[in-house]
């Protein structure tokens, strides 16, 4: 860890092939200007690791992520968790829009993208550069699925989120609609207006509206599995079995990482 304490820039040198290295390790040095276009394609190329979970409400993804979090911490990694819709700069605006039902599909999409941008600029990106393991509960795929279900243009959304860092692994917890609805019904008193897609005027009954809306979202997730190479986990399996699978996959991506920060 001496390398990081001495400062990345001072320790870096360029080898004969033009790769920037610190000691024997090749690194991706922060470019002077981060722009959406400057985002490296494919693997994100930063020293850290980014694991994200996706799935419809009631798929059990948050449970799985928190179990992964505890395991990583126990192993001594520096882990940071970032939740959907949690930017301190933006969340008041989102809350206002939802409370007063002011959001249209377009502004719903943009305010969530703003929130995600703030978390990307302030935490996700710098932490990955610093070599942390970053965990995200929901990522751009949530926006793609929900916003398309609300009628937004697929291509427009793909370019809107161009600035996002590509995850190391995107776990998709696949669950049949009825199972998810059963879990939600057992856990909650009532469904929220936007959560149930009530803004779309699909149906006056929140439960029925939720069912139709989540069905559309599920279709979008299915379409994204090949498009973004999502790692599918069968979310009908016992929690322990799913977690074992998640840890095994995560483990593989941690072994080849030689520059991760460990918790002091």
């Amino acid at each position: 860890m001496d390398l990081f304490q001495s400062g990345l820039h001072n320790a870096a040198h360029t080898d004969a092939n033009g790769h920037v290295k610190i000691g024997p390790f090749e690194v991706f040095l922060p470019r002077e200007s981060f722009t959406p276009a400057a985002k490296p394609a494919g693997h994100h190329g930063y020293p850290g690791r980014l694991f994200i979970v996706e799935g419809i409400d009631g798929s059990g993804k948050s449970t799985q992520l928190s179990l992964l979090h505890k395991w990583l911490e126990a192993k001594g990694y520096g882990v940071v968790f970032s939740e959907w819709n949690s930017s301190p700069l933006v969340k008041d605006t989102t809350k206002l829009g939802k409370k007063k039902k002011m959001l249209t599909p377009a502004t719903f999409s943009l305010i969530h993208a703003t929130d995600f941008a703030d978390r990307t600029e302030k935490s996700i990106l710098p932490l990955l550069k610093a070599g942390a393991v970053v965990l995200c509960d929901r990522y751009v795929y949530t926006a793609f699925a929900r916003d398309v279900a609300r009628g937004m243009d697929r291509q427009w959304l793909r370019s809107l989120y161009e600035f996002a860092v590509k995850p190391t692994v995107a776990f998709y917890f696949r669950v049949p609609l009825e199972t998810a609805i059963g879990r939600i019904a057992a856990a909650r008193d009532c469904l929220k207006f936007y959560e149930a897609g009530m803004d779309l005027g699909l149906c006056d009954d929140p439960v029925e509206s939720f069912r139709i809306f989540q069905g559309r979202i599920l279709e979008e997730y299915e379409r994204m599995i090949p498009e973004f190479n999502l790692t599918v986990v069968d979310a009908t399996l016992p929690v322990e079995a799913q977690q074992a699978q998640v840890r095994q996959i995560a483990q593989r991506h941690l072994e080849d990482a030689r520059e991760l920060r460990v918790k002091p």
Binding site: S33, A37, L89, T93, M102, L110, E121, K122, D153
Partner: protein
């Protein structure tokens, strides 16, 4: 029929946006606000219902942006998207309904300022253009152009240098004067690049407000007389029916219309087609 810059928002009907969308663009201190304050009463005197709108005035995101700008931690991608949220909220809930009701919409800045600001901060130009591809194409864009040498005295002797207008987030090592010059010069360069692409009508804003006002009046008269874009017979009928039948979708526009009209003491009569009925030719299109 009105067009967008490429993508249509869900639920946005383009066929009946019959009013006029007039954009006043220009850098900080170019005199945009002064001109809008002169143009609005002039247009109203001529009998037009006018909606004026501008950046950060949306009920959804305006306060959020102001709060975010108070701190020193608003990143450039976040900033660009926050402004896009504000813009689209006004586009859907103010601009489009007002155009539907036959208003003249005067907007203080439009997507061009937002693109220029983002681009000079290093945001990808293609990315920001793709976001604003949902914007409506205006009937005219008047770019109040003023060189940096004329801009500086206006700023110094009116309100003084402002952190964001000086681009201090971009040039933190400079003093406010140096930062202001660099930032505004970069913006002017970007506006010049956008000017061809988006067909700006350039107005020399280094002259006094009265002269600029006279130029704008003459050009805006031309815009108002201009026949609306070609529409089909079906679109024409649809737009008229919409005006006769109560539709909850139009609620915001009606509210804006009656408020503005009653305060001025005259009745609002939407005249979406320059006041004259369209002549229809054989194939059902307006001549």
């Amino acid at each position: 029929m009105r067009e967008t810059y490429g993508k249509k928002l869900p639920g946005m009907k383009l066929s009946d946006l019959a009013g006029k969308l007039i954009v006043i663009e220009g850098t900080d201190g170019a005199g945009r606000t002064t001109q809008i304050n002169l143009l609005k009463p002039w247009l109203e005197e001529m009998g037009h219902a006018v909606l004026d709108t501008g950046m950060t005035r949306s009920p959804l995101a305006g306060d959020g942006i102001r709060r975010a700008k108070e701190g020193n931690n608003l990143g450039r991608v976040t900033q660009s998207l926050f402004y896009a949220t504000d813009f689209v909220d006004r586009l859907e809930n103010e601009i489009a309904p007002a155009l539907r009701a036959g208003f003249v919409v005067l907007t203080d800045r439009y997507i061009y300022s937002l693109m220029a600001r983002a681009i000079v901060r290093g945001v990808d130009a293609a990315w920001i253009r793709s976001i604003y591809s949902v914007a409506l194409k205006p009937d005219a864009v008047f770019y109040l152009r003023v060189g940096i040498e004329d801009l500086i005295p206006r700023v110094i002797f009116s309100r003084g240098f402002d952190y964001w207008e000086s681009g201090m987030d971009l040039y933190p090592a400079h003093d406010m004067y140096e930062a202001f010059c660099n930032y505004q010069k970069a913006l002017l360069g970007e506006f010049d690049r956008l000017s061809g692409e988006f067909a700006f009508e350039i107005v020399d804003a280094s002259r006094d407000a009265k002269t600029v006002f006279a130029v704008l009046k003459a050009r805006i008269r031309g815009v108002l007389e201009r026949a609306p874009a070609e529409i089909t017979l079906q679109e024409y009928i649809a737009s008229r029916i919409d005006r006769l039948v109560y539709s909850p979708e139009r609620k915001p526009a009606t509210a804006v219309a009656s408020a503005s009209a009653s305060s001025k003491g005259f009745e609002l009569v939407p005249q979406p087609f320059g006041g004259s009925s369209p002549r229809l030719n054989g194939n059902g299109r307006t001549a």
